[in-house]
């Protein structure tokens, strides 16, 4: 009798686990995760009945590597930066995705032709183009506000603390652009020791004024607290602070560094089929355009572009805030994942040594 009881309890437990379908999606938290919950998670649950659990991380690449290597994967879909996705894919930590799961555009254009160049790789489907740029507090510079990346490095003309991401990536590129290097020559120059030297020298000119941030939610906070007068950060976060919370921040697109971000499936994800179903759902033309309603990141599909209209408040035109808007691309740099997968170790070591020295 007791055995039977145990068995039936176990079986019913099993049945409950099987019927309550659920997937876990790991992303970056803050305004970005909110936009995904609103544009992807909620409609997906409404349509399929599958619950989507959002998991936050500072950079999902690290916990994913840990989970896969430890053989204990709890996440089904992960949101990754392009360079990290390429790296993890090469190391066999991500599932290979068949591009045929992606749905074609409304006019029948095949998905692979509809996505921006390079946006779909072996293991990764880009959803957005995001940009790292700088923003300043308008009240700090009432007359003659900063307009170029060089102004960010000019603490004599624009006094005040600066915020920058703690790491070599993007900072070195911005330093060179501020030093007068044209965007298309930045990576060629950074391949040489002189270029690296020059970038660090330029960073050195403002080192004593910099407060280093790590999580994407920090820069708008630092600006709002008045801890810094200007800071680099992700454009979507600045947008959320400016438009949603009414902060007097102004973004400067000159010298922006933009790249893809999107979805991948960790190797050995517990609900592989549901994860693929979710990616198919979240990368349709409409879903990508919907996300742009919630945050100012450019959709990674060409056909989504024309569908992007107003912010969810119904009065803010998204266009001017998009990193991919023509006006914002006059002096912009596409981040080179090839450069960073190769030089990441060396340059970050050097960056850390530079940071620790006085």
């Amino acid at each position: 009798m007791r055995k039977l009881l145990v068995l039936s309890t176990a079986l019913s437990g099993f049945a409950v686990a099987a019927s309550a379908q659920e997937i876990a999606v790991m992303s970056w938290g803050g305004a970005y995760a909110t936009s995904q919950i609103e544009a992807y998670h909620k409609p997906f649950t409404a349509q399929t009945g599958i619950t989507v659990v959002n998991v936050d991380a500072d950079n999902p690449a690290a916990p994913i590597k840990a989970q896969v290597e430890a053989g204990n994967v709890t996440v089904d879909v992960v949101d990754l930066e392009y360079a990290d996705a390429v790296r993890l894919c090469d190391e066999g930590l991500l599932e290979v995705l068949d591009p045929s799961i992606l749905s074609p555009a409304a006019d029948g254009t095949a998905a692979m032709d509809d996505f921006l160049p390079g946006a779909v790789t072996d293991c990764f489907v880009a959803t957005i183009v995001f940009s790292t740029l700088y923003a300043y507090d308008e009240s700090k510079y009432p007359s003659d506000p900063p307009t170029t990346i060089a102004d960010f490095f000019d603490t004599a003309k624009y006094p005040g603390k600066r915020g920058m991401r703690k790491g070599a990536k993007v900072n070195l590129e911005m330093a060179l652009m501020a030093d007068g290097v044209p965007a298309d020559e930045v990576y060629a120059l950074l391949e040489t020791p002189e270029g690296v030297e020059r970038a660090f020298a330029k960073l050195g000119t403002i080192k004593s004024d910099v407060i280093w941030w790590e999580a994407g939610a920090q820069p708008p906070q630092l600006l709002a607290d008045g801890e810094v007068a200007m800071t680099t950060g992700y454009n979507g976060r600045f947008f959320a602070a400016t438009v949603t919370e009414g902060k007097p921040f102004k973004q400067v697109f000159d010298g922006q560094v933009y790249e893809y971000d999107g979805y991948a499936i960790p190797k050995g994800a517990p609900n592989m089929d549901l994860a693929k179903q979710f990616i198919t759902f979240a990368t349709t033309t409409q879903a990508l355009a919907d996300q742009a309603k919630w945050i100012a990141y450019g959709p990674a599909r060409q056909s989504s572009g024309p569908l992007v209209g107003m912010f969810m408040d119904g009065k803010t035109e998204m266009g001017p805030y998009m990193p991919t808007a023509a006006n914002n691309l006059t002096n912009a740099l596409p981040s080179s994942y090839e450069f960073w997968v190769d030089r990441d170790t060396e340059l970050n070591e050097r960056f850390n040594a530079w940071l620790a020295s006085n």
């Binding site: 950079n59 690449a61 690290a62 090469d90 190391e91 280093w212 997968v341 940071l355």
Partner: protein, 420 residues
């Protein structure tokens, strides 16, 4: 201990002729076994959660089979030939076939990452060549060189030979700011990449400083706690324990609220006219922030052992010294202080060891200059994903703390420690 089952030629035997010692031992065997079973869960717990992970960490620091496990043919060729052998066609063939297999198994990124740790800029050489590897045909040397001329670099072959041995001290070398040159000789890192040794020193220095400030601040408080009448000392004790029970993160963020440039302290100073609006003091996101916040957080670990030692010291000792003509300073120095030393030792050791491994607080309030070695370990765990280097750094930190503990034992004696 002598073997007790030896024939009973000794003094005491039981009535059946066995030696008393062995009879006792067998009688107690059961009791001992039960006692052992009682501690077994704890023992298993410690082994599983403590000893095994530390062992894994040590292993990870010297073992990385990223290359050898995924490039078996080249690894075998390296094993057969003496160091410095220029690659022959066998080697090129092995390389091409290994790359082909690694590309199919999606492990070429692991290989590239492993080589890239030692020789920067080679990761994409592996991944891009592997993408073309399925087309390779003999002669393989020409095929590979046509794909990328960098394959002919003797430095690259030297590096591959080094990493083909899964067991390697290279991560420990890197953790000590050293590297190997082309011939495998150990040389210092280029100056602009040296960081770890100075950071270890800084960590120990800061931990020492924090221990000292904790001592200076904690000693009078512990003394007050021990000597005030009960109702006052209880109130004071709550003031000490309340922050001790509060979450670490809450306390750290409270310091951010207090100390930041637009924070409470700076605002008060400005409104009092002590500093000008532009002269707001930078008290956080630097070394000062780390010291202030960590001193506050670790203070209870100093006060509590001190208090437990001071409490039982009879006040009559100091009074006796005074009545015999000692000045109050002499009475304190020669009578009171020596009796508190076990508490000072315990508190300092606790605070120091905790401070050396501290991570969250410096990460949040340390800015660039207030980072400790644990922050770089976290960096290699979470950002660069170079777990072998992180393990090597952690193992060095563990070793350094053990050495300090041993020194403490030699100088002060661990028996003198009194935790409460």
């Amino acid at each position: 201990m002598a073997d007790s089952s030896a024939p009973a030629g000794g003094l005491l035997t039981t009535s059946d002729g066995r030696s008393l010692k062995s009879a006792l031992a067998s009688a107690q065997k059961r009791a001992k076994r039960r006692a052992f079973l009682l501690v077994l869960p704890l023992l298993a717990f410690i082994v599983i959660t403590f000893i095994v992970p530390i062992g894994q960490l040590m292993h990870q620091a010297i073992y990385n089979d990223g290359f050898s496990a995924n490039m078996p043919r080249v690894t075998a060729w390296f094993a057969e030939t003496p160091p410095g052998t220029p690659p022959d066609e066998t080697a090129w063939e092995a390389l091409a076939l290994d790359l082909k297999d690694a590309a199919a198994a999606r492990t070429v990124g692991v290989v590239g990452t492993r080589v890239n740790y030692e020789m920067s800029g080679t990761r994409s050489l592996f991944t891009s060549t592997a993408r073309a590897a399925s087309r390779f045909e003999p002669p393989y040397r020409e095929a590979l060189l046509e794909e990328d001329a960098k394959w002919d670099d003797p430095v690259l072959w030297g590096t591959m030979r080094q990493v083909s041995d899964a067991y390697s001290a290279n991560f420990f070398l890197a953790a000590l700011d050293m590297t190997r040159d082309v011939n495998g000789k150990i040389v210092p890192m280029p100056e602009d990449r040296q960081i770890y040794v100075s950071l270890f020193l800084k960590t120990f220095l800061l931990a020492g400083l924090i221990t000292f400030t904790c001592f200076v601040l904690g000693f009078p408080i512990a003394h007050l706690l021990a000597t005030l009448p009960m109702r006052w000392s209880n109130l004071l004790m709550i003031l000490v324990l309340l922050p001790f029970w509060t979450s670490l993160l809450v306390r750290t963020t409270s310091w951010m609220v207090l100390l930041q440039q637009q924070g409470v302290v700076n605002n008060s100073l400005v409104s009092l006219g002590l500093i000008s609006e532009d002269g707001r003091i930078q008290m956080i996101y630097n070394q000062a922030g780390t010291i202030i916040a960590m001193t506050h957080i670790l203070l209870p670990f100093m006060i509590l052992p001190l208090y437990s030692v001071m409490r039982p010291i009879p006040p009559s000792y100091v009074r006796a010294a005074r009545s015999l003509g000692a000045t109050s300073w002499t009475a304190f120095r020669r009578v009171y202080l020596p009796q508190t030393l076990p508490g000072v030792g315990a508190g300092s050791l606790l605070v120091f060891i905790l401070a050396v491994g501290y991570y969250i607080t410096p990460a949040l309030v340390g800015g660039a200059s207030g980072q400790l070695i644990s922050n770089l370990i976290a960096f290699h765990m979470q950002s660069s994903l170079n777990w072998s280097l992180a393990s090597a750094l952690a193992a060095l930190l563990l070793g350094a703390v053990l050495v300090l503990y041993w020194l403490y034992d030699r100088l002060v004696g661990i028996d003198n420690l009194k935790l409460g």
